[in-house]
């Protein structure tokens, strides 16, 4: 479980996050939703120690500051939105960096097995010996997700992982995330913009608004007309299709 106590973050003199107290359950897919500028990405990078803030972050009953840097990178991993990768590495080399926290640069059999597994999880077999600077945006994104999978941390943070991906790959990545949460008891925390991906795939939803947490709870309790209206300031229709709540908001 991850607990956040009194998190405050300012950029210059502007509050970005104010007084965040939150606990994120283990073994679930957790979506962070909210309008642009609500602080989702900032919150994600604070929990994953990329950005500093006031307040305390406790991961599995231990303060984040008390973790050794290597230990922490086996505990949590993060993929940010802006991972420009103008570097000439093959896809497999990039993915093998995911094993760095475990084996440094001396990869053993187990590492290679995990790397190959991540490659086939992301359908990258046909690309694995290509240089990443020759890939499309979506392919790069998949390679990065594969690297995060190879890192094999307990908690996986993804900032808009579906960016650059077509519908087919978006759906297959969400399915994969659900699978690893179930089979390997990982915890996935992601920022999503498409409310229907949040609704269909997450167990738990945290909604941010105006620098604070507006709602946090099980997905089915958050995806309601009233709450969505409060979160996004717009009207939604919600239809139940095969047990999935689909939000309609285009008109």
């Amino acid at each position: 479980m991850i607990e956040l106590l009194n998190i405050n973050k300012k950029y210059d003199d502007k509050d970005v996050l104010k007084n965040i107290n939150l606990s994120l359950p283990k073994g679930k897919i957790i979506s962070l939703i909210g309008a642009n500028g609500a602080g989702k990405s900032t919150l994600l990078s604070i929990i994953s120690r990329l950005t500093t803030s006031e307040g305390e972050i406790i991961i599995d009953d231990k303060n984040i500051d008390n973790y050794h840097i290597t230990e922490l990178s086996k505990k949590i991993s993060i993929l940010r939105q802006s991972n420009y990768l103008n570097i000439k590495l093959t896809v497999r080399e990039l993915i093998s960096f995911g094993r760095y926290p475990h084996s440094k640069s001396r990869l053993n059999e187990k590492d290679n097995k995990i790397i190959d597994e991540s490659i086939s999880y992301m359908n990258l077999d046909y690309l694995k010996n290509k240089y990443i600077d020759e890939l499309s945006g979506g392919e790069k994104q998949r390679a990065l997700i594969a690297m995060i999978l190879a890192q094999d941390s307990d908690y996986i943070f993804l900032d808009e992982p579906l960016n650059n991906l077509d519908m087919k790959h978006s759906v297959s990545i969400m399915k994969l995330l659900r699978k690893i949460v179930k089979e390997k008891s990982k915890t996935v925390i992601l920022v999503v913009h498409d409310i229907n991906f949040a609704s269909c795939y997450s167990d738990y939803i945290v909604a941010l608004k105006n620098t604070g947490v507006l709602y946090a709870g099980d997905a089915e309790k958050i995806i309601t007309k009233e709450k969505l209206k409060n979160i996004f300031d717009m009207d939604f229709e919600i239809e139940d299709i095969d047990g999935n709540k689909i939000c309609i908001y285009y008109t």
């Binding site: 922490l72 990178s73 080399e93 760095y100």
Partner: protein, 322 residues
């Protein structure tokens, strides 16, 4: 990979052999075989040290270059385009000024301190200005370097040291003699350290967030990288003098062929670095034989031609500054 390393090593041995027998006094392999004592003397006091100095310099500067490129995430920085070399020269001047009669070792230490300080300053400067186009980074480096260099020259004039410093303003292997170049072997030590931490440096070159995620201490690795580059640069400046371009060109050529993973390309960068300086030095010695052109001139000319080629090839492999 091994095939290429073997080919490179063989060319290095052949050209190294040729290099040993070029010079004003005529020495042939036969003389060595016959153990002609005068010629053996020249051979071991001057020729062999010169060859070793050439190899260590080329290798060292290339390693320094690729490390700087990794930690600054920019393919155009190097000791001579990020002001490191000018700071090292400034350090030597200060050493001469305040510690007259300083040994090579003292000069090297003071010069390293200055190179380290200056390079750190440059890195801080970069993180403050946030450049959009990666090509501006080396421009700022060269500007800063020129300012430092001007100050050096000014002080040298003022204290009548210009004769004294001109020897290391322009790199020259003609002065290399036994007992005056051994510091360069520190470069080999640095190479070993870089090989051990190769993956770390590659990860750092991708970016700060990326490194943090993988549990790599970004700031520490950057600092270590700058220390390594500063030591190599100062050693070269103190013993040989400044030589432009090598640190930038060699890693870029290898990158185009082999990619950016230091773990794979570090040996080739080292070998090609040695080879590049060796070829430049052979040119320097035969073009106006029996006289010599300073290596910095030859390296500058050959280097700038290759640099232009890399630039015109397009910015495809240029990394964006973070």
């Amino acid at each position: 990979m091994f095939k290429r390393i073997i080919i490179l090593s063989i060319s290095l041995i052949i050209l190294g052999g040729i290099s040993l027998f070029i010079g004003v006094s005529d020495i042939t392999p036969l003389d060595i075989f016959q153990a002609d004592s005068d010629k053996l003397h020249i051979f071991f006091i001057s020729r062999v040290p010169r060859l070793m100095a050439i190899l260590c310099t080329g290798m060292g500067l290339s390693i320094a270059g690729v490390i700087m490129q990794s930690i600054m995430s920019n393919n155009f920085v190097s000791p001579s385009t990020a002001s490191t070399m000018d700071w090292a020269k400034f350090g030597v001047l200060i050493a001469i000024l305040f510690f007259p009669g300083a040994t090579l070792k003292t000069k090297m230490i003071i010069s390293t301190l200055f190179a380290f300080f200056g390079s750190m300053l440059f890195v801080q400067l970069l993180s403050l200005i946030k450049l959009k186009d990666p090509i501006f980074t080396p421009l700022i480096g060269i500007m800063l370097g020129n300012v430092v260099s001007s100050v050096t020259t000014y002080i040298a004039y003022k204290y009548d040291l210009i004769q004294n410093i001109s020897s290391w303003l322009q790199g020259n292997f003609a002065m290399v003699l036994q007992g005056r170049y051994e510091l360069l072997y520190i470069g080999v030590l640095m190479l070993i350290i870089v090989v051990l931490f190769a993956t770390k440096f590659t990860i750092v070159s991708i970016g700060e967030d990326f490194s943090k995620n993988l549990g790599v201490n970004y700031k520490l690795t950057v600092t270590i990288g700058i220390i390594i580059a500063s030591i190599i640069t100062s050693v070269v400046v103190v013993t040989i003098g400044s030589i432009p371009f090598i640190g930038m060109i060699v890693p870029n050529i290898i990158r185009i062929i082999r990619g950016d993973n230091l773990k794979n390309n570090i040996w080739e960068i080292a070998l090609v670095g040695g080879l590049f300086v060796l070829v430049c030095d052979i040119f320097s010695r035969i073009i106006i034989y029996p006289f010599e052109i300073p290596i910095s001139v030859t390296a500058g000319i050959i280097g700038s031609i290759i640099f232009l080629y890399i630039l015109l090839r397009g910015n495809k492999h240029v990394k964006k500054t973070a």
